[in-house]
């Protein structure tokens, strides 16, 4: 046996043992822990998102799991989900449970800022990266906290840019002289109302004739609708969560009220939910931010919107899941899964800061169903800003509502129809 043969044998032995060690080190499953609100005020946003995560994990597992670069192999995903019942106190406990008892590799927050807030300090304390799906409050992000990334929604101080710009630049041109603001007093919705209010301050020709915050659990908007009618505004801008939108539109329907210009926060993003509640007609000629549920952002990874909608609805039906509609939250859940999937394909290990680094490699390179994925240095989302759309009645022979993009100018497909016919 010469030296070359010996060297070859040693190299082969080293490679085999390294491979064996790698295989031995690879976990049997990647534990993805998440919270969702199965009941309570947050259920309408949280459940579709959670179902989308289940769909994503199921799809990956059917193909052998998620590819993890650190182990150079596909590993099945185990989705561990707890129902926080819309209680922030319980969400904090359960986040701790996921970290300390279940020892998850990937930690996802429940949807909305109120619920995410409970998980932020716990994740930070345990040095776990929090994959924040829609908790967009700027309060969560600071340069000294590397343990959070926002996935599927622009941070709340950036998200309302389109509507604020429209108020300043287009409303005076349309002849709108008075505005009514109605919003839910929660971080996400109040931030949007503030953005509009600030825009109105810079537009002296428009007067605010009604400005009212309501609790998130408001289920009857009749009084507010009547008060707004009495104030005779040229435009009404309403910001609420999906359950609030239903209550607001129901009040319009029940009082047979109509405004010349109506903006609703979720009119487009949760259109299917609104349709299934028989309130689609109230949306005719109204305006809403054209989030990914209605506006087709081009993607460079995963399914496009039409494909995902079809696949999601098929999955929901085949799993006999009731009362879950396709909409923004479903897309947010799917997108969260895709970002995690892409990050695992890039990360050298499951170390939490390495996972953060991997997520940052996607910033500016990933086009998602929610728009371009762009992370600010503090982990907040700067991309994914929706254009403003006007919802049109169905065309003759169709049952589907139409949509024109009216702002910003470079994306606009039509001019706004004002006043509403």
């Amino acid at each position: 046996m010469n030296w070359v043969t010996i060297a070859r044998a040693i190299t082969l032995a080293l490679l085999v043992s390294a491979g064996a060690a790698e295989a031995a080190d690879a976990p049997a499953e990647i534990k993805v822990g998440t919270l969702y609100a199965g009941s309570g005020a947050m259920a309408s946003t949280s459940v579709p998102l959670h179902v989308a995560l289940e769909y994503w994990a199921d799809g990956l597992n059917k193909g052998g799991g998620v590819f993890v670069k650190g182990f150079n192999k596909k590993i099945p995903i185990k989705l561990i989900s707890y129902d926080d019942q819309s209680s922030p106190a319980l969400a904090g406990n359960l986040t701790n449970q996921l970290i300390t008892q279940d020892k998850v590799d990937i930690l996802l927050a429940d949807s909305t800022s109120v619920m995410t807030a409970a998980s932020v300090p716990v994740a930070r304390d345990h040095k776990m990266l929090l994959w924040d799906v829609t908790g967009s409050s700027p309060n969560f992000f600071s340069p000294d906290n590397p343990y959070i990334v926002l996935l599927a929604l622009a941070a709340t101080d950036r998200y309302p840019k389109t509507i604020a710009d429209f108020v300043k630049q287009q409303m005076p041109k349309l002849g709108i002289k008075s505005v009514a603001l109605l919003y839910v007093t929660a971080d996400y919705t109040a931030f949007q109302a503030t953005a509009v209010r600030n825009a109105l301050k810079e537009t002296p020709e428009i007067k605010v004739v009604f400005d009212r915050g309501v609790p998130q659990n408001t289920s009857d908007y009749t009084v507010f609708v009547n008060n707004m009618l009495a104030a005779k505004p040229d435009a009404v801008l309403e910001f609420g969560y999906p359950a609030n939108e239903l209550a607001f539109l129901r009040a319009l329907n029940d009082t047979d009220s109509k405004f010349k210009f109506l903006f609703t926060g979720y009119g487009l993003t949760e259109q299917n939910l609104i349709k299934s509640n028989g309130l689609a007609e109230q949306l005719h000629h109204s305006y809403a931010l054209a989030g990914p549920g209605s506006y087709e952002f081009k993607v460079n990874y995963g399914l496009n919107r039409h494909q995902f909608e079809e696949a999601y609805e098929h999955w929901v039906t085949s799993h006999n899941i009731k009362g879950v509609e396709f909409g923004y939250n479903a897309i947010a859940g799917y997108q969260a899964g895709l970002v995690i999937e892409r990050s695992l394909a890039v990360a050298e290990s499951l170390d939490q800061l390495e996972l953060r680094r991997a997520a940052f490699t996607l910033s500016g390179n990933l086009d998602t169903l929610c728009g371009p994925f762009v992370l600010a240095p503090d982990g907040s989302q700067s991309g994914e800003i929706a254009p403003l759309g006007q919802i049109l009645p169905p065309a003759a022979g169709s049952k589907e509502l139409g949509l024109s993009i009216v702002w910003p100018a470079d994306l606009a497909t039509a001019k706004p129809i004002y006043p509403s016919p």
């Binding site: 199965g38 129902d83 019942q85 209680s87 932020v120 300090p121 309060n139 971080d187």
Partner: protein, 306 residues
Amino acid sequence: MRKGFVRETALVLLPLVVVLAVMPWLYNNQLLLLNIVVFLVLAQGLNLTYGFSGYLPFGYVGFFGAGAYGFALTLMHTAAPPLLAVLVGGVAALLAGLVLAPLLRLQGAYFGLASLAAAEALRHVIANQDLSEITGGPYGVRLDVPFRPVLTYGLAIGILVLVMGLVAWLRQSRFGLRLRAARDNPVSAATAGIDVVHGRLVVWLASATAAGLIGAVYAWSAPTFFPEAVFDLSFSIFAIVFTLFGGAGTLVGPVIGVVVLYGAYNVIGVSAPKYFQLVYGLLIMALVLFFPAGLASLAVRRRRDG
């Protein structure tokens, strides 16, 4: 009095504190442990007012929220250390208790509903958009305070000792006896020379301060929060249910309530959340049907029968 006080604290308070102090070494979900202590304090705080004056405040969470915001606003607007801010949280709740003291003129369901309305009003004042510069408004608060789970847990246990010590003292003292007499029959008690209003006010303020102090500790443990989180009505509901389940007016009752019901809440919530409402509902129905005075009444019944 001294004998009874020592016996109760030795049999209930001391073992409880030892168990709570040891638990972090046995179970590492420290936030869950902190929440158990939070609910123990809230249940005992509610026990102070309901058990000794008969007033059941559905809006008890208002004091908890006032304490959390007292803590937060102190840190946001002054250079005070967090421990001082916790005290300010207690004082904020005490002041809220003083402002709401006229509610004690109401009785029964009227008082319960008025206290609930007061808590909601307080929440809306804090969440008011126009006060955003001061309170954070609907955008909530983010506190730049070091996350100290061991310290906050220890602090919570300290507050629990104070509150339970007060309950034990009231159970054995003449003042407590006068309070219970006024609770059972205020007219007779007043005729006998008992200052009914003074007694009610003292336990009402003590109860408010307890909730405020623990609200401040809670805020320290969750330094980013929104008004909805600390004025969440479920804090009131849990405190009431735990107290009634175990037995109001006793020292051990609220402890039983928290251990059994909050334990069940977390076990079922994790293992079978779909059945949570059903199991919880059945437990409470069983309580109302068979032990209307709480589980602690079993011991009293046995002592009387035996």
